[in-house]
Symmetry: C2
Subunit: 324 residues, 2 copies
C-alpha cells in the first residue's frame, strides 16, 4: 500500500522515497531502478563533467529521473546545468552552496527545484529562493553535509524546517535506511525521505563491490565526520562542510593531523588514488551515514524500495495499535 | 487517548513520557507534576548532596517519582544512592560512566534500572548489565552527552539500539520536544521518550526565570556542544562528553580557546558564578537541545504532557491517513 503525501502528489509517483544523488554512485541505472520501483531517482554528478551527465542519462533509458549537483562545484562549470536541463530531468537538486544563480534556468526548464539544507536558516533561504521541495539533512547523513559545529541532527531539524517552510514539502535526509525511518519522517511532518547509504549497497550502484560490502558489514558507531579524504583527493570543499565516512587506516592516520597530511600530499595523494583504483577500502573513502546499523545486505534497488515501504506500513500499524 | 507501550506497561503509567533528570532543574515539584500528568518524573541530582536529594523527594510529596544520577559523579560519593533508595524511587537512571557498581543495590531495592547510552556499543553493555530500560541519547540533546566525535544522532541510533537490546524497552532522547517527536520515536521502535529542554520552560522547573525565557525564545541553530561552561564552573567532566548549550557571550569568547580559559580561571570562575547567581544568561550556561525550535512558551508541566500526547495522536492520524 503506497503512501500519498504532498511530495508524491507533486511528482505523481507512488512512494515518497528519493535516491540521494551520490557522485560516482547514483548513476543512471540506479536512478532508473528507484524511479521504476515507484520512487524518484536522482543521478549524482559529483565533480564529473558533461560527458558523464550524458552517459548516465543514457543509462537511465526512458525512466524519468532527476539530477543533483554540488552547488559550489557546479558554479565552476555551470554549462553542466545546461547539458542536464537538455535531458529534461524531473527535478534538479542543489546542495552545498549558493543556489541563487541556478534557480531561474531550472524553473524555466520545467524541472522541479529541490534544495537541500543543513540548518533552519538555510531552510528559510531555500523557501525565499522558490524551492519546490526542501530537504532537511542531518549531520548523521553519509557523505558531505553540515559539520556538527554548524549543522543539525535529523530528528529535531525536520519538524523545525516543516514549520518554517510550510506549505513547501520537506524530505528528511540523514539516518534514514529502513521503513521505520520513513514512518518516523512522516510522523515528524516530512512528506518523504532522501536515502543515500542504503542505496550504495545495491546491485545498480556504480560503487566498487568492496565499498558495497563494507556498507553492508559496518555499523553506525564506525563512522566519523572528517576532511581528510577531501584533502587526500585534493578537493577543496568549503570550510563549513565535512563528510561522514567509515573510519579506516587513512582516517586513523590523518584525522586530527590535517596539517601533516597537507605537507605529505605529494605522496599521499598518489597512494590514495592507487588505493581507490583497486577498491582498497583501508585507504579509499567509503562515505556512509549512521544508518549503517540497519543495512545488512546488497540487493537490487527495487527490492530495497519495496522493503522500506512494507516496513513503514508495519511500523505505522504497530504504532497505531499502541493507541488505546 | 493514551499510548500503551512496553514502557508504560512496565511502570503502570498512562503516557510514555519521562522527565529527564536535569540537575538544578528537575526538582521534586517538576518530577511530581510529570508523574501526576501520567508520565514518569525523575529528580535530577546533578552534583548535589544528600540534603538536596531528601529535600526534593519531600517536594515531590506523595507522587511516585524516580531519580537520576551522573554516574561518574555518583562514584565520588556513592552514599547518595543509599539516601535515594531509602526514599523508594520508582526508578533510578544512570548516565555517563561505569554503572556496574550500582546495578545490584538499585535492583535489590525494587527500583527499575534505567541506563542512558550514547552509542550502540554502550547499549549492548547496558543490556549485559541488566538495565530494565535503555535510553538512546542523540547528540542533539541538551546538556551533557556524547560528543559528535563518539556519540550518535537520535534518528538512526534509536532503531539500532532497539534491535540490539530487544526485548528491553528503549526510550528516545535528544531532540524530542513535541508530539511529532513522540510519534516518530514510537515509529522508530522506541517505547517512549525522555524529554529535557521542553520541561525547562515550565512553571515547576527549578531554573531561573531568565533561563526559562531564553529556552522559550531561542532556536535550535543557536546551540553548540562545548566544554567551556564545565571549565568555567570547574567541573571535571570526562573527556568523552560535551554539553549542548545556547551560544552566549561566554561561549563566544572561550569556545575554541579552552587553554586560555583555564589560564584565566581565577577571575573567570568568579565572574561565572556571579553571573549565575543573578541569572545573567549572557555568561551563565543555558543547557538546551536542538528541539528548541519547537518550544515557544513557559507552561505548567501538566499542560506540556497533555499537549505532547494530543500532538502525537494528531501526527499519527495524519501519517496513517497518508496510506492509500
Amino acid at each position: 500500500m503506497p503512501f500519498r503525501t504532498p511530495f508524491t502528489e507533486l511528482f505523481g509517483i507512488r512512494h515518497p522515497i528519493v535516491l540521494a544523488p551520490m557522485g560516482a554512485t547514483s548513476g543512471g541505472a540506479l536512478a532508473a531502478a528507484v524511479t521504476h520501483a515507484g520512487g524518484l531517482g536522482l543521478i549524482g554528478v559529483g565533480y564529473a563533467d558533461e560527458e558523464y551527465i550524458n552517459r548516465e542519462f543514457d543509462a537511465a533509458g526512458n525512466q524519468p529521473v532527476g539530477i543533483g549537483f554540488i552547488t559550489w562545484d557546479l558554479a565552476k562549470n555551470p554549462k553542466r546545468l545546461d547539458v542536464a536541463l537538455a535531458r529534461k530531468p524531473r527535478a534538479v537538486m542543489l546542495s552545498f552552496g549558493d543556489g541563487s544563480p541556478f534557480v531561474r534556468p531550472i524553473k524555466e526548464s520545467g524541472a522541479k527545484l529541490i534544495m537541500q539544507v543543513q540548518s533552519l536558516a538555510l531552510a528559510r533561504e531555500a523557501k525565499r529562493l522558490g524551492a519546490d521541495v526542501v530537504i532537511a539533512q542531518g549531520v548523521e547523513a553519509g557523505g558531505h553535509g553540515g559539520d556538527p559545529n554548524n549543522g543539525r541532527s535529523t530528528f529535531p531539524l525536520v519538524p523545525a524546517v516543516v514549520d518554517a517552510v510550510a506549505p513547501v514539502p520537506v524530505l528528511a535526509a540523514g539516518g534514514v535506511a529502513d521503513g521505520r525511518g520513513l514512518a518516523a519522517a512522516l510522523a515528524l511532518g516530512a512528506a518523504g525521505v532522501l536515502i543515500g547509504t542504503r542505496f550504495v549497497a545495491t546491485a545498480e550502484a556504480l560503487s566498487h563491490v568492496n565499498v558495497k560490502q563494507r556498507v553492508a558489514a559496518a555499523g553506525g558507531d564506525d563512522t566519523l565526520r572528517t576532511r581528510v579524504f577531501d584533502i587526500g583527493r585534493v578537493i577543496d570543499w568549503p570550510e563549513e562542510y565535512t563528510g561522514r565516512a567509515l573510519a579506516n587506516d587513512f582516517s586513523g592516520r590523518w584525522h586530527g593531523n590535517e596539517a601533516a597530511l597537507r605537507q605529505a600530499l605529494d605522496t599521499e595523494r598518489l597512494r590514495y588514488f592507487a588505493a581507490a583504483g583497486k577498491g582498497d577500502t583501508g585507504t579509499m573513502v567509503v562515505w556512509a551515514g549512521e544508518g549503517l546499523d540497519l543495512i545488512r545486505d546488497v540487493r537490487p534497488a527495487e527490492k530495497i524500495v519495496e522493503r522500506i515501504v512494507a516496513e513503514a506500513e508495519a511500523a505505522l500499524a504497530r504504532t497505531s495499535a499502541a493507541r488505546i
